[in-house]
């Protein structure tokens, strides 16, 4: 028990700093098994600190005791931390998958010399949504880390006494603005179908909790109808299933917000960059007939039929281990981003929502049957990973684009077009010529319908998740409901705790639920005396 003497905020803040400084960061990973008690109170938070949307450099800020851990495992710093407050160029890797996400600057701010007064880390990375999302997700997988709430960095800075009085003057307004924005955003979402869905869940969870609580607090003295708990069992099961289904929405809502990842892949010199340029309707990538010109990944934001698309052009898939020169980066136009290409384009293909496999028509065998077999083989070599060679390819995630049709005789082009459509086992095939724009309209129609399926039509069907934050809270909610199932027969107090935690998690999206609200439901649904 903490003593009840008033310490005031200053001392509380100093206490936090001491605990966060005085312990080797490596210990913090093991928060679950027997960490000294004082440490558990400070959670480590992270968030994108630069503005949302496209920008050159994105800054992701981490603050809290696990910052050093995050820095070590994401920047490959196993031995020592970098010197304080000095920029260091590192590869940023996903600590679970061990794959490189980006190459960027990392800065280490040990407490108390940081914005928040806590141990802090900044990652300065490339600003594309794909990179930012990947790094944020990787951070979320580090134990003890959670996404920051609106204004939380500022609030921590304030609590640590890091803000001067003049800075503080504006703080209330700032937080107000931030939470206002959050509220408006939430309102916008809440008034839609998604809002109805979450409110419905919250309502049903509230009733579940009220009924369990009624059973706990009143069933010994009162007539709580038989089967109240069985009804809760059924509701919890149903809710769990619905939430899981919702979480398995293939990220459609998030895609709608941050864009569908479309990757152009194919053999070197098949015309991938030409396709990108054609789609952008302006010269975007360096286009040249020499094999291997494109060695970087170029990301371009496109609007296809009203859906946001992030188009990436990859280097030809040759598995070449050599590193690339940064040639030509200065000539990149606005809206495009150079992303360091460290390993192989396969990573991109694996993470893409949709892959456009570009094939040079001139390389196709003239016999149509043989052409189909050739294309199947080609797809395998381009798309299948080394780790999972036997994985079946989901056909809806690929489009075959046969380029340079202008080099084929007219009759053969028509024959190919006609017959390849009837071959089973091939993804949709589009014949185009980036040179003459022949077939482009048909290709765009196919692309549009694919993107639309991936995003889900926002005007119809089941509402989808729009925010990674919602996803995290819903996942916690589902996990908490599992606790109900686990303890249902052994210990009803712990089972109820599961429903309560679930409601708290959901409440972070829909609003907090107080004890009084639960009691109101109890007294509405049951006749309680004594």
């Amino acid at each position: 028990m903490l003593p009840f003497t008033c310490r005031g905020i200053w001392r509380a803040a100093v206490h936090t700093l001491r605990t966060s400084r005085g312990t080797p960061p490596c210990r913090l990973l093991s928060t679950c098994d027997g960490v000294p008690p004082g440490l558990a109170d400070a959670e480590t938070i992270f968030a994108l600190s630069s503005g949302h949307g496209r920008c050159g450099v994105a800054v992701i800020r981490v603050s809290g005791p696990a910052s050093a851990t995050a820095l070590r495992c994401m920047a490959g710093l196993t031995r020592s931390l970098p010197p304080p407050r000095a920029a260091l160029l590192r590869s940023i890797t996903d600590p679970q998958a061990k794959e490189v996400l980006d190459r960027g600057l990392v800065l280490w701010f040990p407490a108390p010399h940081s914005f928040t007064g806590e141990d802090s880390v900044e990652f300065h990375i490339h600003g594309g949504p794909a990179v930012v999302t990947a790094v944020l997700q990787a951070l979320g997988s580090v134990p003890g880390m959670r996404p920051a709430e609106a204004g939380e960095f500022t609030r921590r800075a304030f609590q640590a006494g890091k803000l001067g009085l003049t800075e503080v003057e504006g703080l209330g307004d700032l937080i107000h603005a931030e939470t206002e924005a959050q509220r408006r955003q939430a309102l916008r979402q809440m008034s839609g179908e998604l809002g109805h869905l979450y409110k419905d869940w919250s309502h049903r969870l509230k009733r579940c909790l009220a009924h369990v609580e009624a059973f706990i607090d009143f069933s010994e003295d009162e007539l709580i109808e038989d089967g109240v708990l069985n009804q809760v069992d059924r509701s919890v099961c149903a809710l769990q299933a619905e939430m899981e289904r919702h979480l398995k929405d293939e990220r459609r809502g998030e895609r709608l917000r941050s864009g569908v990842q479309v990757v152009i892949a194919g053999a070197t010199n098949a015309g991938k960059s030409s396709l990108l340029n054609t789609l952008c309707q302006r010269p975007a990538a360096i286009v040249s007939p020499i094999a291997g010109t494109t060695r970087d990944v170029v990301e371009t934001a496109l609007d296809i039929g009203g859906f946001p698309v992030l188009l990436s052009d990859t280097a030809g898939l040759r598995d070449s281990p050599d590193l690339v020169e940064r040639e030509g980066s200065a000539e990149l136009g606005k809206g495009q981003r150079l992303v360091t290409w460290v390993t192989t384009g396969r990573t991109w293909v694996e993470q893409a929502d949709l892959t456009l496999v570009v094939v040079d028509c001139a390389h196709l065998p003239t016999d149509v049957q043989q052409a189909a077999a050739f294309l199947q083989g080609h797809l395998k070599s381009v798309l299948q990973t080394q780790e999972q060679p036997e994985t079946a390819l989901p056909a809806d995630r690929y489009l075959l684009v046969l380029n340079k049709t202008d080099l084929l005789p007219e009759d053969q082009r028509q024959k190919l077009d006609r017959e390849l459509r009837q071959v089973s086992g091939l993804p949709p095939v589009c014949l185009i010529s980036c040179h003459t724009n022949e077939g482009l309209q048909d290709f765009l129609t196919v692309l549009h319908s694919n993107v639309k399926t991936l995003c889900g039509d926002p005007l119809s069907g089941a509402p989808t998740l729009t925010q990674a934050r919602h996803r995290a809270h819903l996942q916690q909610c589902v996990a908490a409901l599992a606790q109900y199932q686990q303890y249902r027969n052994a210990d009803l107090a712990l089972a109820a705790e599961g429903v309560r935690l679930a409601l708290t998690s959901l409440g972070r999206i829909t609003g907090r639920v107080g004890a009084e609200e639960i009691l109101d439901i109890i007294f509405k649904d049951f006749c309680i005396g004594k």
Partner: protein, 669 residues
Amino acid sequence: MLTKKPPVLQSFLSLVFRRASHLARQQYDVIVVGGGHAGTEAAAAAARVGAETLLVTQKTNTIGALSCNPSLGGVGKGHLVKEVDALDGLCGRAGDWAGIHFSILNRSKGPAVWGPRAQLDRQRYREFIQSELLSTPRLTVLEGSVEELLVTEPNPEEPGHHRVTGIRLANGSHPISASSVILTTGTFLSGSLFVGQTTSPGGRIGDAPSSAGLSHTLRERLGLRIGRLRTGTPPRIVKDTVDLSLTNLHPPDSHPTPFSFLNTHTRCKPEEQLPCYLTHTTPGVDRVVRESLHLNCHIQQDTKGPRYCPSIESRVLRFPGRSHQVWLEPEGLNSDLLYPQGLSMTMPPDVQLRLIREIPALHRAEIHTPGYGVQYDFVCPTQLSPALQVKSTQGLFLAGQINGTTGYEEAAAQGLWAGVNAARSALSMPPVALSRTESYIGVLIDDLVSRGVTEPYRMFTSRAEFRTSLRPDNADLRLTLKGFEEVGCVSSLRYQEAVRVRDGLQNALAALQTLTLSTHLWRKKLPDIGMSESKSTILTGMDLLQYNDVSFEMLASVFPECLSPYMEFSQRLNIEAVYRPHCDLQKKEIERIQKEENMTLPQDIDYFSLPVSLSQEVREILDRVRPSTLGAATRLQGMTPAAVVNLLRYVQHTGQRGRRAHRNQPDQK
């Protein structure tokens, strides 16, 4: 503890009390007004803390009377009894002395929500409380009616702020002065009794109404916001006239579990316990209620009654056409009455008789005392500090139904805490607070002072956010140590026992942790348990205890040399093993809340002129409720994160100034 208590005769008691009244001094540290559950705990606690204490009550022989139901504890309420006992209060030991039917409610639902409960012998309960007060050093009991509460004129520097100076009795002309006064007037503050269409002033049938002077002082001189609530009690039924063969017998636990951490057994032997009887209402009951509504004054008033202890009238009106449970409870070992729990009613006595006779088991029952309703004033508890002191009046403390609560246990808990703080205030010690993260008492007081009440407040386990940590079994570890070391309301005898238990539990848990075996070996030692872990996994004794079908007794039989010394703690260890992982998860949240609760907001803030950015709406909320801590402020409905940050800034800013100004003074809350 239990066996030492001598049975005390009523006449002897009255004599001693009366003598005490003649010897009454003119000056005390603490005066307690009222001798119910709140008053007795308050007086005893104040005396334990070290204050010269005077308890004033209208009738000394009703001290410790159970005005309503003859029972103590239950789900949530039992938690409060255990906590009051852990702080060395009276009601737990009184329950063990007077109980005639013990049972643990919710036995099948997990130890965090077990509800220890007992039916009581009214006579024995009163005896215990009275003799306990009599033997408490520094405590004097005086029979008399309080005419007036004495307060100073408002402080010119702080308009509206008074200081209590004492009381004046109705008969005596001279005032009795004190630094602290605790009002525990229950339903007597402007109380009115209702039976049928007749109304009379009073707080309990058979007792004189309290003086109007007290109510007047609170309302007019101190300017406190007063509300009105109602409650009721059922008719008492002559046991011989009940056809018990038409009821379901409800036996007690075969092994009574005492409330008190100091007792290993109850006074009542297992085989001496009496049963309860369960019966149900019929459509005839509904009919009588409807037909007599026009004769029922109480039910027509729109005063707020308790939703969870409703009269039979409100049950029938809210849930028509249903059959409601009626428990017939014994009133004592030698009592010839039964208490019909669930049949609280306020219709005219002849209609009451008609109503109960609609229930088959009561078809020829006779009523000994009719049921009646009570309406009474309460002081809106948001005007109190977490120490239960009226914010605007130094030294004036309130506890029990006067704060809008219902129930013996809720009253006892507040009484104890008000007694502690009234004594500390009188002895110039800083106030102490109990957090909602460490006790149900803390939940109760925080709910009252920071949210207020709209209907009589009763404790439920669902009100406690940290229910899995605040269990009846660990109340001693949560409160007894603190009660001795920081609060000063716990005897050293009890403290030593709690230390012994704490050390024993710690050693036992350490011993369990060091017992490490592979799953394979565990299976060999305990062949009957189902373990899903793979063979090579190493499990500790603690891990094993988390299995449903493993108990400490089983482990002790396998490892007698290291575990048998701890057999007395076996049940607590079984519980601890299952709950500890969950409690560890809660710790983080608990510490965050405690940090916010350690940031106090000055009581004299003028929220409307506070030079920080707060919306008018938030200022109004803050001004109305005046939260004592930042933690309480964040829990207010309508508070925004921005407002909390701005308040934080204020706390920080004034905290700095305050420290500079009072550098050489001790830290005060």
